[in-house]
Symmetry: C2
Subunit: 474 residues, 2 copies
């Protein structure tokens, strides 16, 4: 079935790409999804990219239980107010009513900081630099595959530090060296790093750092966040340590996460009217070989040549599509829909000419390539296509980043054409709320380091304290 | 704190090893555990070993939600009877009472086969060869870290096939090529492969294949199972396909899983009175280098030499323990407790003599090794220690596998010294139940292929239909 056009109905386009590219489908329990093998293979590459960087920056993995006794959630006031309305609760188990209900983790600060109270006694025990890969449940009223599901998968880092400075440095380091690096290099998704406004902070955080991407419908996507939690959780759970000064101190915390939502971000960053476009570093299948033949005597020859080329391309992730029941044109469409970065077409005429035909998913057109040069050319194309998709996304994002000179421009630009709209903000939550009420746009990011802004608040006209970037967001 | 001796109190020994080696600790919700970084690092190696083999045998990963609407569990009669008493139930979410309670998966056949009804239309859609890594909840009355926890982690394969023969072949192939191969080669844990008796089968299975290991307390551990499910789930969930014969057929199913329980198996297969002993292929730290120095001027020299040796041992997983606050003897004990396969000691006298001192965890004693030979020697030791631990475990298992000639011998041997006791069985569940009531021993495995047994049933004296291996088990 043909895809809806992005320009005509972006949400329908997204839904159909996810479905037709066999990435995920809704499941029975409200807002849950089955992540199908093709979607899962993408997630495995994302996991590897993030996990490698988490370890390279000195963190270790562990695993905490998903059940949190209800009373534990209630100890950090802002946190429980933020999450209580979204939790799923186990009230019965083993055939009996539980004495105390168990909350399915909506995030794990509570149970982890309860446990850190046992693990941390002295400054010698610090820092704790840990992470876990886990499933999370947050009851969503308007679920969308990958973007908002009641159960999703993520990693959550939870670190403990002696000083505020060290914790802040950690939160920012993860944002840059883990998240931004993986997302830009592997997912080829350009992001803006910044701070959240107080109203958009994680419940219980002193500062939330974010990376924000721009989707092809010119809406923003929060692609990952890293929080400086101050001493809030240490105080709520009694995590004190004997400091170098011989005094007791509460530990400083960070937490940070990215989730299966990134898959939705990849689809909406790179996809076009033909379907997915996957950057080679992320693609489960980097090269597809489509053998073309009519007569049976051609078949053996073509398949043999295809197998030989595929073998020479190892360790690239190559798939030879030798299905007999589909015609080449059908296969071309299917692999374009699935976003495979490079296609090799190989028929008797190609073989006679000692060449193959190459088609890139990131640009239109085909090119011939002599057989002896295929490996070198394809290897080079992996970088070229990766760079090209990143560059296209950067250009799109930059072409949809605007400066507004007054409130009217802000309100107009966030709606049409949409994108990031930058301008002065006085720091007042009321001005932020007014923009949201009038236009649905929210502050996506503030500068990483607060820097004095020139000019006035776009909303109220008072002196601006910093520059904000507004957008309508997922 | 000194460990209890295995021979005096094996359960206490196990509990203390898990605790002191920093592998896991109990968490708040009944029967749940925190898997700590050292335990998790072992699980990551197990996951990699299993996952590589799952993929090498043609399977792909996916992910199903953990919430299963309660009515879905009830469609396969034996299955619901087996699992209903163990499930945890979500009754409230998003601040409201749910219309239908959600069961937290105790295993995923129900939701997966419900979904396969949509995925399978024709024989062309078969086989489906899929697997997922997931957390599972089964309410345990007597939890023990790693061995029985209310939440545990596992992989569960779920395949669908055209014919019974193909499904049976799949179930047995996974048992051998995935599980047995990974467990014997990587975990160095010898196992017996066989069939379960009907009373020990998975709820809803036609045949359960198992691999059974013997722990150092001479109790058996079911280390992994692979089930042929016949058409039971296809019939319960309406999974029909149009066959090559133009007729509709129900699909044939398998499912198979191994879990974090394997970590407990490793501890109890190899551990000794000093703590863990990890096979090199599994060990998160394969080699620990302990620098020894007194004066400050020695320190720089020794640390430099240690760093150089560690660098040369790449890509082995090497850790240099340069903590200033602990003495070498303390470090030796700690790394022995944590089961690191090989220790390199390195002091000024060693350096003067152009050598290091090597200590293996699998055998007593130390040996000197000239510095230029360290890399070759350590590399060889990785295989030697791996083989040695496997051989020790095989010898122990074989020394505790007995043949019983009558019921008295069976009852005596399963109790003292304990181990696998083999003898004739008539196939009657009543005889099996009598043994369990009298001795706590159960049938751990029957021959993979039923083969005519000689002699009589050890229990009732009637003609034996096959030979069974009994043991007291975890």
């Amino acid at each position: 079935m043909a895809l809806p056009r992005q320009s005509e109905d972006f949400p329908a386009w997204y839904q159909e790409v996810v479905k037709q590219a066999d990435m995920a489908e809704p499941s029975l329990a409200r807002g849950t999804m089955v992540i199908k093998p093709y979607g899962w293979a993408i997630w495995e590459v994302i996991q590897r990219a993030i996990d490698d960087r988490i370890k390279a920056t000195g963190h270790q993995n562990y695993y905490f239980p998903m059940f949190i006794p209800a009373h534990l959630l209630e100890k950090e006031k802002e946190h429980v107010e933020g999450f209580a309305p979204e939790v799923a609760v186990v009230t019965h188990a083993g055939g009996e009513k539980l004495e105390e209900p168990l909350v399915v983790r909506p995030t794990s600060e509570t149970i982890i900081w309860h446990t850190y109270a046992k693990w941390i006694q002295s400054y010698r025990d610090l820092p704790l630099l840990y992470n876990q890969w886990a499933n999370i449940v947050r009851w969503e009223l308007r679920p969308r595959l990958f973007l908002r599901t009641t159960e999703f998968l993520w990693q959550e880092g939870h670190t403990a530090h002696e000083t505020a400075e060290e914790a802040i440095h950690e939160a920012r380091k993860v944002l840059h060296e883990v998240y931004l690096d993986a997302v830009e290099r592997v997912l080829a998704m350009p992001v803006r790093a910044g701070r959240k406004s107080p109203s958009e902070r994680f419940a219980g955080a002193e500062e939330t750092y974010t990376m924000e991407a721009l989707m092809r419908d010119r809406k923003a996507l929060q692609a990952g966040t890293s929080h400086y939690l101050g001493q809030n959780f240490a105080k709520a759970y009694g995590v004190k340590f004997l400091g170098r000064d011989g005094q007791e101190h509460f530990a400083y915390a960070t937490s940070w996460g990215v989730s299966t939502r990134l898959i939705g971000g990849v689809i909406m960053t790179h996809g076009d009217d033909k379907g997915l476009r996957l950057p080679p570093a992320l693609a489960p299948i980097q090269v597809v070989v489509v053998p073309i033949y009519r007569a049976e005597d051609e078949k053996a020859l073509v398949l043999e040549a295809a197998a030989k080329i595929a073998a020479e391309l190892t360790p690239l992730r190559v798939h030879v599509d030798d299905r007999a029941e589909f015609r080449p044109g059908y296969k071309f469409n299917e692999w374009e829909l699935k976003g495979v970065p490079v296609r090799i077409e190989l028929g008797p005429r190609d073989l006679d000419a000692g060449q193959v035909t190459l088609a890139r998913r990131d640009v239109e057109g085909k090119q011939a390539c002599p057989v002896p040069e295929v490996t070198a050319r394809i290897t080079a194309l992996m970088d070229e296509v990766q760079d090209s998709l990143f560059r296209q996304a950067v250009e799109f994002r930059d072409a949809h980043t605007f400066r507004a000179n007054d409130y009217g421009e802000l309100a107009k630009l966030v709606d049409d054409p949409g994108g990031f709209v930058v301008g002065g903000w006085c720091g007042d939550a009321e001005c932020e709320a007014k923009v949201k009420a009038d236009t649905k746009a929210t502050i996506r990011y503030l500068p990483l380091d607060p820097e004095p802004a020139e000019g006035d608040c776009l909303v109220c006209g008072r002196r601006a304290t910093e520059e904000a970037a507004w957008a309508v967001a997922y």
